[in-house]
Amino acid sequence: MAGKPIEGEKRVFMTGNEVVAYGALAAEADIMYGYPITPQNEIMHYWTRMVPKYGKRFLQTEDELSAGFTTIGGVMAGKKAFTATAGPGNVLMQEPMSMAEAMRLPTVSIVQQRGGPSTATVIYSQQEVILTTMGGNGEGLRVVYSTATHQELFDYTIKAFNTAWKYRFPTFVLGDGYQAKMRESLTLYDPAGRGIELVPPQPLLGAPGVPGVDRPPAQYRNTYSMEEELAEVLAKNIADYEAVSGEISEWEESGTEGADLVIVAHGVVSRAAKLAARELRGEGIRIGYFRPVTLRPLPAARIRELAARAGSFLVVESSYGQFTRLLKEAAYGAAARMIPLFKPGVGVTAEEIVARARELLSWSMRGQSS
């Protein structure tokens, strides 16, 4: 068997799906379970080619329900297991991930968003935000990283395994078809070389010893007879989630100090938003840029602070307000208006954002002069 897949650091130019496969290797993932759906397929393609070389495993399942539930079996056996999906596959994936939430199982799922609803396009969207953050019949006790660049796809794939095994909440890397399919430069690295310690997995079932003789049996269920039994479990899980939300949540911002208008976006759209803000600031215009990296848990405290100070958020997203809904909940009671730039199912350019921001700025100046 070959040694480490990545020695030291290496500059590469590759597609996002290939980056994810390398990220999973760097994170020392053991096994992938998957079912074909565009635009995530190449994650499986690259993983299956690396399987023999690095002693990994792969199972192609009969559907995404099975891909999710086999991933659950893999983590319960004590292995770093993951899956990848998109669109209607992500819809099916919510059933197993609800169980992962119920049992606090450290699954890792990569989601490469495609157009919706239903099968729509295989290309791109940001329409799986509500589904990935709040999907299933639960309370959204999960972690969702929304990546913007290939470097982040690599960084957060590694981080997703650590977060999942450290906090024991199902964890998602939310990408999209653009990130999946385009090629971009990034640096692959051995996490140890950057001082990143990998959280080791542990068996939840089948640990050494005879149950009932050497140790109590490990028994997991997702069905309860009494309301009170369930309430007790939920109260504990919700308290655990809230206690760590602050340290899990991440964001990026610039120029928000004293800015009346803040452009807010996530994922690949945040690249256009960042560029637009930079261009306008180059002209001496005061404008902020804010991007949550974690959509669950959302950096709610920071959003509330900004919303209390800024006049308006220009919220840009490739869906019809799914991201805005999360922001509104976080900012509830704060004064900022949420002005939409929604392009459901299609990409957004920096030029469009700049044009919209100029309109808003000229209105507000007109408002001041009258």
């Binding site: 539930f69 893999g74 089948g206 009932g212 049996p217 997702n222």
Partner: protein
């Protein structure tokens, strides 16, 4: 003089070693067949001395009530997903012995794709499917295994094969889509000794790494059948075998099965 009556009251039923005493009596309805199937399974686990390697997967419906019945590691899921959960576990750690315990609704209806997929791939797992001809936990609706003319809550005038099909032949289907190393049998709670033998062979087949192993157990549901003791036994001994043939369908090394 010894009070024979008092002595009898103090006699405890013999439980398999791998059962948990602290979760007894179990939670199944009086007269339910699950206890018999689970006793056969427990004795098979005892005989093979594999308690330290078994992971017991229970499904939803009445089978979920077995989640803490054994002194075995266990995971309870729903809708036939116990098959992919145990498949994923076995793939990740092939040293474990994976058991999927579920009903006819989970296995043949809502989770049928998992049964088909896992059987066709020849997963090295053991599936024990309890056939009591209807959905028990949800209150006695028609299942894929409901027999022609049988009254259920969703076939109140009797199942009509012309509009709702014939009883699902699970083991026959599994036998036809599995490879040579598969073990497939149909037992019955009417003959627990034979059923235990089938379950033991199914587990041994997994341990030998030969292939898929599948046992359907014909079982009882007097609650939803609304039958007394005599009619319940008649149902499993006389009526069900007209549609479900008891015996081994596929035994590795034996061509054509039995």
């Amino acid at each position: 003089m010894v009070d024979e009556g008092a002595k009898l009251v103090n006699i405890q039923p013999v439980m398999p070693k791998c059962w948990r005493a602290d979760t007894k009596p179990h939670r199944f309805c009086p007269g339910c067949g699950h206890g018999l199937v689970l006793k056969a399974l427990g004795e098979a686990v005892d005989d093979l001395d594999i308690a330290g390697r078994v992971v017991f997967g229970a499904d939803i419906g009445c089978s979920l009530l077995a989640w803490d019945l054994f002194n075995l590691d266990s995971v309870q899921t729903h809708h036939g997903r116990t098959v992919p959960v145990i498949t994923g576990l076995k793939r990740a750690n092939p040293d474990l012995i994976g058991i999927c315990y579920m009903g006819d609704g989970g296995g043949y209806a809502i989770g049928a794709q998992h049964l088909v997929g896992s059987a066709a791939r020849g997963e090295k797992i053991t599936v024990i499917l309890v056939n009591n001809t209807q959905y028990g936990m949800t209150g006695g609706q028609m299942a894929p295994t409901t027999m022609p003319g049988q009254k259920t809550e969703t076939s109140p005038f009797g199942r009509d094969p012309a509009t709702t099909g014939a009883p699902m032949q699970g083991p026959e289907m599994v036998a036809s889509i599995t490879g040579e190393g598969a073990y497939v049998a149909r037992g019955t709670v009417f003959n627990v000794r034979q059923l235990k033998g089938f379950i033991k062979k199914a587990l041994a087949n997994q341990m030998a790494g030969r292939g898929y192993s599948f046992v359907e157990a014909l079982s009882l549901c007097p609650t939803n059948w609304r039958t007394d003791a005599a009619a319940t036994w008649n149902m499993v001994n006389e009526v069900m075998p007209r549609y479900f043939k008891v015996g081994e369908l596929k035994v590795p090394g034996e061509t054509g099965g039995r």
